[in-house]
Structures are given as C-alpha cells and as structure tokens.
Assembly symmetry: C2
Homo-oligomer: 476 residues x 2
C-alpha cells in the first residue's frame, strides 16, 4: 500500500512558508496538508535531509518539524519504512462532513451538491408503485435498468447525438463512471491529458489506475489547444470537462472543441468527457453541441447528483459501441450494478419531471447571486469572476494564502477545499484561488461569506492558523 | 488497456480438446471462453506458433483455428498488436442476462441472488416517510448513513464482536467492498492468498489492483492450513470465505480458523473475510464465531444482496480503526457514497424486519430441496453433495465436461457458469464441477434441471456444442 511523496513534490506542496519559526510553520503546513487530504493517510514522507535540501532549509529545521509532527501523533516512524503519516482516528469519519446544510454551526462548502428538492418525492412515489414488479427479478442490472437507459439515450438523440440504449451504462454517479473507465482502460504509465485546473477526484480516480497526468497550462481558459496538440502524441487518454468546467465554470469554445477533437482523434486518444455540469446553465446563454458531437469515439460521463440531489447516486457512461463489452466485463469485477430502486426514480424524473432541472437552475442562480453580493460587501478586494454556469465560484485571492485561509475558516466553523487541490501539479498557482460552491441556501451562503471574511482578516493579520480536527477530503 | 494471455495460460484454459477436427474444436473452445467471459474483450492472443508449441499441435492447426475465429468476427488482427479478441457488439449488453427468473424461455443460473420478497415493500414504505428529512441534506454519505452504520455495528456487538459504528463503511454491495479494499491496499505484485476454489469476481476485483494470487490446494475442504502456513510469509493479503463458502457451501472448522488466524496474523497478512453468505444457514446447525473473532485486524465484508434482494445494493466493510481513514480517502476517488435511500431501506430492514432473513432461509431450503430431488431423478450418475448452507450446489460431473455442458445448456435456454471460472489456476479441476444456484422458484429450478439433463445427453453423445450468442459474465 503505502503511498509516498518525494522531497521535491512535498516541497512544491508546502510552497513558501509564512513568517515565523520555520520548524513550526513547516510542521503546521504539513499537518494542514494531512487535514485537507492532500497528503493521504499512510503516506511515507521523504527523509529529513532530503526535504531540507529540496526546500533550502537547515537539517535542524526539518528534524525539529518531524519531531513536532511525531509529538502530535501525526507522524509515525516504522522500522524499515521511514516516517509515515497517520491521520488520528478519533475524528476521521466522514460523517463529520455530512452536516446539515442549514445547520448554522458548521457550514461545509467542500462539496457542490444541492439538497434534494421536495418535488423529488413524486418520482420516489411513482417508483414505489413499480417496485413490486422489480422485486420479482434478481435486481442485478450490470448495465442498468432498460427503462432508464432508454430515456437517457432519447435525451442524447434529442440533442443531436444518435445514441442507442445499448451504449448507455448506468453507474454509481459520475465518479463511478470515471472510475470504471479508468479501471477498464488504464495501465501503468499511460499518459493522460487533463486541464491544469480540474476536478481532483475525477483525475485521481484515473491516476489510481496507473495514468500519469499531462496537465494543460493554467491560463485564461482551461484549454490551450496548442499545448493539447503538442501533448496529444504522448498520451493515451484525456479527461476533459468542457461544459461549465469544474471548478472554473468556463465553457470550451466551439473552435477549441473542433481543434481538440481533431487533434486527439488523430492520435487515437481515448477522451473522457465529463458533462455532469452541463445542465447548470445559469446565464441561460445555451451551450455548444456536446464535445462528443465532434468526437464519436469519446466516452461521455454524466450524472444527476450534481443537479438534483447528491443522495441519488445515478450517473452513466455513453460509450462508443466497441467499448461497451470491455466496460461491462470490467464492471463485474468492481460492482454488480447500481441500486435498482434509484434507477426507477431516475427514469421517472427524466421522463416526467424536467421542471425539476429548471427549478434547480433558478435556485442555484439565486443562491449564487446572494453569495456574490455578500463577497462584494465583505471582501471587496477579492476578484470574483462570475462564470456562465456550474455550481461554483472560483475566486481569486489578493495573495497566495488559500491553504492558510482554509485552516483559519475551519476555526470559524466553515469547511472549504484549498485551491491547490484543484491545480494539478501547480500548487502555488492554486494558493491564489478558492472554490466556493453556491449550493447552500441563501442565508447559509451569506453566513459562510461572513465567516470567510473573519478568517481572511486572521490570515492577513498574520495570526497563526492552527489546523483543527481531521477529515476526509470529500470534494464533489 | 489490452489484456493479453500467454500461450501457456491459454493452453491450460483450453485443456484437452474433444475428438474431431482439431482446428475447429480449438476455434470452438476459444469462442466458448470468450462467450463465458473467461477471455475478456480486447485480450491479445499468443502467436499461432507459440500456441501450437504450448498445446503440442501443428502450426497449421492453430493457423486454421485463428482464421476460423477471424472469419466469425471474434478475432481481429491489429497492426503491431497481434491478434485481439472482440466480443461482437450485437448482443453484448448484459440485459440479455437480466431475465425474469420466472420466465420459462431463458433461465439464468449464472447468479445466486434471490428475487425480492414482497415483505420488503414495508421497509421501502417506511424509508419513504423519512425521505423528506434526508432530502434536506446533500445526501453524500461517504461512510454511510449513521442510522445504518449503528444498526450494523449493533449486529456485530450482539454476535460478540465489539464494533463501533465508525468502523463500518457502507458500500455498493459486497463487491464494492472488496473492490475498495483492493483499491486501498493493493499494489502490483503483492501476494494474495485465496481458496483454490473461490468466487471469481471477488478474486478478480483484487487482482485488478495488482495482487497476484497464491491459491490453496483444491481438496476435501477449501482450507489446507499447512499450505496456508507455508504461503503466509510470501503474501501481503488473503481473501477468504469461511462461512458457507462460495461456491462449495463449506464452513471453515473452528480449529482451522484458529490456525489460519494465528499464522496470518503472525505474518501481518491483511485478511479480507467475506461473510456475505453467513446468514444462509440452511441446515440450521449454526456457525462458529466470525473469523474476525480470532483476527481483530481482519477486514470483514458483508452484504444484504445475496440474502434479501440483488437490487438492494447495500454491502459494508467492518474495518479495524486504523484502516478506516485510508479506506475512506481511497473511496472518494472511486465513488462518493452509496445510494442514500437504499441505506434508509437497509436500516429499516435490519432494525425491524429480521423475519425476512428467516423467511429467505426457509424459501431457499425449499428451492434447493426441489433441485436436489430433480437432479437425483434426471441425472442419477451425478454426485450432488448438499452443503450446510449458502445458495449453491457445487455438483461433481462424471467427466471433465463443464464448459461443453454449459455451451450445450445455452442451446436449451439455460445459462450457467462453467466450473473453471471458480477454480483459480486449475481449469481442468473445474471441468469436473458445476455451480448450480438454487435461488430460482421451485418450478423454475426443476425446469432448469430438465434442460440440464438434455444438455448432458448432448454432451455425452458427443454432439458438437456450438457456442451461441455472446454475453457478459455476471456471476453473483
């Protein structure tokens, strides 16, 4: 097991230490990385000497920092295995994160998923009426409930993408879909083109199966077509979020779609297109045709969780026919299918409750407006671009302090994900950024901004931000 | 991607060819392996020459066999990649397997999961009453619904295993649980001790993350403690099914539990204990204490799918505290949690509907008795041991013909899994065996045996058994 991190990589994650005693700031920063989930439980740290070299610090500083981490129970030395990080088990369960979004005590802006609209109960009721006939089957649905796969396929056909229900595989959310693609096609060392700023669980799901990322440059928009063309001959796969990209909310321009699809197809790059944000068109400006319209070999993943309710774990894959068998065979070794009842519910919603999607957009637009207004009032020196869609704001901080801000916010009862979690291989660029999901009720969002403002004051004033508690990094 | 198979391994899978034209029998047998899912879509075959050498056949024979496979669209030659198997896409979706168990046209004895008892509707109704309050949350439950984790933990406590709800992680069935353990702790080349006869999707889930199996010898019972002791120093993990083992139905004796737990603990072997059959005590003789009673470091996996209904995708892990964080961190990269509503249903069942488990045992006992009786009547020369529990019979055929029997049965509208799928690395031992799940209604089970009898007649008479159709190998 035991993941490890090189001195070079750890130094990049740590970045520039704030002013103050170096050993203590070093220890605090490493603890912060553990609390955030950027350094995983069981990770082997580099030797004190090699970290000192990589960071230009004295050996004494790193030794004292490691001692401090040991004293706090975060670092354990194991015969022959060096120093291994351990997240203390007392408060590690994720339930601490599953807070009621209306609970004023703790506000979790770590995931961007809406609470379920009460209108969902209709579909649950209608599904319950169909339950008795479903109970007369084994309920194993490796590729999904036929009625659900049909209505999903019809959706693509209506959008101009000819699709047969046999091309649809229902999965446990978009995350389950991405993981299945990685499991089926990944192999150690294969190159994976990704946006330089991206959704970490999506990327890590793929790297977990051996892919090595080639991130596009972080710039104005997430897609540098020239860089993609240069990388294309060296990668086997690509993971892209062209529609209301997570976390930036950007939309890939039509001409970029054409260029990327042309280039990547020419090099036979298996492209995974994450469309799970596509329904969240807040500006109402519409979207270009699906990326898959330009690349019939692309694998599209989508989900209802981000739009309707996180508790409805229904995602899917739309795959070219020639990949369907391999995906299903691989799936059997992984899970035997998605919850049958939830599939009935999803089919009901897609068939009869389109208004729920419209209402979700209206609600999210209102919630985001409230947060944007509160940010302008309380944090006027922050740059808050408002993207055309998606559930997030991707704000620009006046200085590189995202991780310290997140630690300070936790002390105010506000849980956030630090910017560097989203900027692959460029943690320092991420320190200038913060993702703010807008999926909480308006009064909660406004309260969150007030806490954020207090936390920012603490950071700017140079107060020491001691990481509190430990948690699993649920980012959605 | 592209899995491949060595000439040696393929020769072992093919075994002894039946009488008749060698090239055609070779092609038929390879097609059979593709139909069964033993050779996966996209697998690269060895060269014609190396297969000829490995099997002691002429080069002409293997060349003609490969030509025949190409003619039938099963084999494709790709520049630089050799010959790659392709399951024709026309009929590859698994829906063909999701047959109504009461449908007399096709009977699927490929999975051993019951239809849902109508009594389950009570729990669905009670869960629906709790839905509105669940909808006010994001519904993301990475470790599971607290109410469900509590009732699961109470079950272990009542059975004498002290367990805190924080040690429980709810997963997508037992398969999702095994896959999560593999994903968290697997690494390329790590040794995995397994029973020589085992549940293939469980084992393959783990080998998919890099584990290499060390199977125990296939013998009287699945657990040779001396062989386990010899293997223990060379493996990092073990996957065991001690209670109503799948597929044999055997129970690991208490003294074997003690010896294995002692040996494996001493060598710090991470032991995964699959207890998903534990509730299916058909003989009513009771079971020894859980294997985990002797190895507090063991990871237990369990599920409601095998006992109550395949459509309820609720499984779980009971983990030692020190592994919980690593499992949850790994899970986030894989899926963001199990369907929230199903978890409400499962909590209701475990809290209030224990009678459903008793009824499931009574029903299965009746179904199995009907099949045993029909086998005695129609196939009197078969050896049909009746195990103390579990949903399967693991019958012994009079000759090594399991794969041919499965092909012949498909022509009778009876879907089965060939014995070699369950005998890891010893396909020829599996050719003498057949797993017969007893989870179908009595009249269906009896009809299945009648078809089986006709198929057996065809095999014994030496009629050529042409594989028909193609399918995904769903084994549960």
């Amino acid at each position: 097991m035991d993941p490890s991190t090189s001195a070079f990589r750890l130094a990049a994650m740590i970045g520039t230490l704030p002013d103050g005693p170096a050993y203590r700031n070093l220890a605090d920063t490493i603890r912060l990385l553990v609390v955030d989930g950027r350094l995983l439980d069981g990770t082997r740290l580099p030797s004190e000497r090699s970290l000192a070299q990589a960071m230009g610090l004295s050996r004494t500083t790193t030794t004292r920092a490691y001692d401090e981490l040991r004293r706090r129970g975060v670092l354990h030395s194991r015969q022959g295995s060096g120093s291994v990080l351990r997240v203390p088990t007392s408060s590690t369960t994720a339930s601490s994160l599953i807070v009621d979004p209306d609970d004023p005590d703790t506000i979790a802006l770590t995931f961007s998923a809406p609470t379920g609209p009460s209108g969902l109960t209709r579909a649950f009721g209608a599904a319950a009426e169909q339950l008795p006939s479903l109970l007369t089957t084994s309920g194993y649905l490796p590729d999904g409930l036929p009625a659900l796969r049909e209505v999903i396929a019809e959706g693509y056909v209506a959008a101009g993408l000819p699709t047969d229900p046999d091309q649809i595989i229902v999965t446990n959310g978009a995350q389950g879909a991405i993981s299945l693609v990685g499991r089926t096609f990944g192999r150690p060392g294969a190159g994976l083109l990704v946006e330089g700023t991206s959704y970490p669980h999506g990327v890590e799901s793929l790297t977990g199966f051996g892919y090595r990322t080639t991130p596009l440059p972080i710039g104005e928009d997430p897609w540098d077509a020239d860089a993609a063309a240069a990388a294309a001959p060296h990668v086997e796969a690509a993971y892209l979020i062209p529609d209301f990209h997570n976390p930036t909310g950007a939309v890939m321009p039509v001409e970029t779609r054409l260029r990327l699809a042309h280039t990547l197809r020419r090099h036979q790059v298996l492209t995974i297109v994450d469309e799970s944000m596509r329904r969240l068109d807040l500006a109402g400006e519409g979207l270009p045709a699906s990326y898959a319209a330009h690349d019939p070999d692309a694998i599209v993943v989508d989900s209802l969780s981000k739009v309707l309710w996180g508790g409805l774990r229904i995602g899917w894959i739309r795959a070219p026919r020639r990949h369907v068998t391999a995906l299903l065979q691989s799936r059997m070794r992984h899970d035997l299918g998605t919850a049958a009842f939830d599939q009935l519910v999803a089919a009901e919603v897609l068939r009869h409750d389109q208004h729920l999607f419209d209402e979700a957009v209206v609600r999210l637009r209102r919630q985001r407006a409230a947060m944007v207004e509160a940010l302008a009032a309380h944090l006027p020196d922050w740059d808050v671009p408002v993207p055309p869609g998606g559930p997030n704001l991707w704000v620009c901080l006046p200085s590189r302090a995202s991780s310290r801000l997140v630690a300070a916010a936790a002390q105010e009862g506000l849980l956030l994900t630090p910017g560097p979690r989203f900027t692959l291989g460029a943690p320092s660029a991420g320190e200038r950024r913060l993702r703010l999901p807008c999926t909480s009720a308006e009064h909660v969002g406004v309260e969150a901004v007030q806490r954020l403002s207090r936390a920012w004051t603490a950071v700017v004033s140079g107060r020491r931000c001691e990481p509190t508690g430990t948690r699993v990094d649920l980012i959605a």
